[in-house]
């Protein structure tokens, strides 16, 4: 990193100062500096984006994250593993269970413990349910960002079924805190599998509704097709992951490509990619992913092995010294934990790689030359969650 500040950084700094200024109407010769956020309906949380406009076109844009930084990695240094599991639920708060899994898997890797097959199956099922809950919200939310107020209500209505499922198994709708080193906290209550099958029916109906209401809508197509096109090589350069990358044609899904103790290999499912790389493709990809997740859940629940859900681990867990990196395909993209342990009750250092942080890094490149309403479309289609960016 050079110690001199580049011209671009200097210009960005001046612009942020200008955008903070009390005088809101600036008659500038080369365009208007607009401050989108941190409090703004379109940025999903407290993301601040400074854009310089020429009329309605963006000349350059600079995202400024950090308004929601909660210091997870520093907190992790002074907490024990069960306590960190609790905290880590809150990183990507919509895909609840998915945050715990890579962390627990990394700790299990260091300990050399493997959870019994029943626990792995249930972990995968809950992981996919978290993905469904997260992506259902995206499907509705994209409608709202574009002006269609109704789909988001359907999204919340049908998400309730999934959240109720998670609550009846784990006790918490948004923060299950269910994964333990060596397995799970407790087994599923009676009747849960039938309840899940009912909920999945609602999810599938919702997907069909969204397909009719939004995907098939010509206005939606006009707003999204060709907007925010990300070529595949650019996506790789910026480290995009998840549906953002798959919509640009990159056939990469960690569930299939990375060996993992979880049970994805025991189900028959496919990875959906799209060639366009525009906002429409990202929406389409995520819709198909929800449908695919329902298939995975049904297959796994149909073949749930019996047995215990917790391997033999000592009461007070001291994870052996070493380093472990585990990454999984979370709803937002690739999430990973790098744990450095020195044999204590908690990790020495825990580095959290979150998908939204990398997904947001493409915003300056992507927003050059687009119109202001397209800015909203692009941000909505990239789908980041602030807790995920800032940790």
């Amino acid at each position: 990193m050079s110690s001199t500040v580049s011209d671009r950084q200097r210009a960005a700094y001046i612009a942020t100062q200008a955008a903070d200024a009390r005088v809101n109407v600036e008659i500038e010769a080369e365009g208007m500096t607009l401050n989108i956020g941190p409090q703004h309906p379109a940025t999903h949380g407290t993301l601040r984006i400074v854009v310089r406009l020429d009329g309605e076109q963006v000349l350059w844009a600079e995202p400024i994250p950090g308004y929601m930084h909660r210091g997870y990695e520093k907190l992790a240094e002074v907490r024990t593993y069960p306590q960190i599991t609790t905290l880590v639920n809150r990183i990507d708060w919509l895909g609840s269970f998915c945050n715990e899994v890579p962390f627990i898997l990394a700790a299990e890797k260091l300990l050399g413990v493997e959870a019994p097959p029943r626990a792995q199956y249930i972990r995968t099922v809950l992981f996919e349910l978290g993905r469904i809950a997260n992506l259902i919200l995206f499907l509705g939310d994209m409608g709202v960002q574009l002006g269609a107020v109704t789909p988001v209500f359907y999204a919340f209505r049908d998400r309730e079924y999934v959240l109720n499922l998670i609550e009846s198994a784990t006790g918490g709708r948004f923060h299950p805190n269910y994964d333990r080193i060596g397995g799970l906290k407790e087994d599923l209550p009676k009747g849960w599998i039938d309840e899940t099958k009912g909920a999945l029916r609602h999810v599938r109906d919702f997907c069909d509704e969204m397909e009719t209401l939004l995907l098939g809508n010509e206005i939606f197509a006009k707003r999204c097709r060709g907007i925010g096109v990300i070529p595949a090589h650019i996506a790789l350069e910026y480290g995009l992951s998840g549906a953002n990358a798959r919509a640009s044609g990159i056939d990469f899904d960690l569930r299939r490509d990375e060996p993992s103790p979880l049970a994805w290999k025991d189900a028959d499912w496919k990875v959906w990619t799209h060639t366009d790389g525009d906002a429409f493709a990202r929406y389409w990809c995520r819709l198909q992913e929800v449908r695919e997740s329902t298939k995975i859940v049904e297959q796994l629940l149909g073949g749930l092995p019996s047995g215990s859900i917790q391997a033999k681990v000592p009461r007070i867990i001291k994870v052996s010294a070493g380093e472990a990196w585990v990454h999984t395909e979370n709803p937002l993209g690739e999430m990973g934990y790098y744990i450095v342990s020195q044999g204590g009750l908690g990790p020495f250092r825990c580095k959290i790689r979150t998908p939204s942080f990398s997904n947001v890094s493409i915003v300056p490149w992507l927003l050059r030359g687009v119109f202001v309403p397209d800015v909203i479309t692009i941000l909505a289609s990239l789908y980041f969650i602030l807790g995920d960016i800032d940790r």
Binding site: R79, T80, P82, Q83, T86, L87, R118, T150, Y154, R157, E160, N164, E167, S168, A169, T170, G171, G172, H175, N177, K185, E186, D187, L188, P189, K190, G191, W192, I193, E209, T212, L213, L214, G216, N217, E218, I219, A221, L304, P305, S306, G307, S308, I309
Partner: protein, 167 residues
């Protein structure tokens, strides 16, 4: 353009129209129309209840809480021997057991970690207060929550039978 536009736009209108005619999902929580409630699932983490006779003031829950929201004070004292002619026993007495629900994360580590089954989850959630200080539940109130603690649920087919009574 008008010819191509019609189908998708019209089908979308159909979706909203049919939803208008179907029953609504709103649960009317307050007000004159009734106090409808959706009972939370049995395992819902609503409030923590304390069974005082089981507590031995081991402080494990207070130590493992990520927020340090449990305040415990106790003292050691001599209790009469269990049978005639024996030594007096040293017993821990619980003086103060407060849980500050304004800090509590509802993670459940304290309930899990307690070796003596003194803490239980209850799905009760309607205990909001007008003052934050009232969210500090003391021993007596925590004991009252014990009445709302449900029986542990039967498990799904294929689950291993639980050993011991640990929830």
């Amino acid at each position: 353009m008008p010819q191509l536009k019609l189908p998708g736009l019209v089908k979308g209108l159909g979706v909203t129209f049919t939803t208008m005619l179907r029953p609504k999902v709103t649960v009317q929580y307050t007000g004159p129309h009734g106090k409808e409630r959706e009972a939370p699932p049995t395992r819902a983490r609503g409030v923590i209840a304390l069974k005082e006779e089981n507590c031995t003031v081991c402080m494990l829950c207070a130590r493992s809480c990520p927020d340090w929201c449990i305040y415990i004070e106790g003292h050691k004292d001599k209790a009469p021997p269990r049978r005639e002619g024996g030594k007096p026993r040293t017993v821990q007495y619980l003086d103060r057991f407060d849980i500050d629900y304004s800090l509590c994360m509802y993670c459940g580590i304290c309930v899990e970690v307690c070796p003596f089954d003194a803490l239980f989850w209850s799905p009760e959630f309607e205990y909001s207060e007008a003052r934050i200080a009232d969210l500090l539940h003391d021993k007596g109130r925590l004991g009252e929550w014990m009445e709302t603690v449900p029986e542990p649920l039967a498990l799904e087919a294929g689950a291993e039978a639980k050993k011991g009574g640990k929830k």
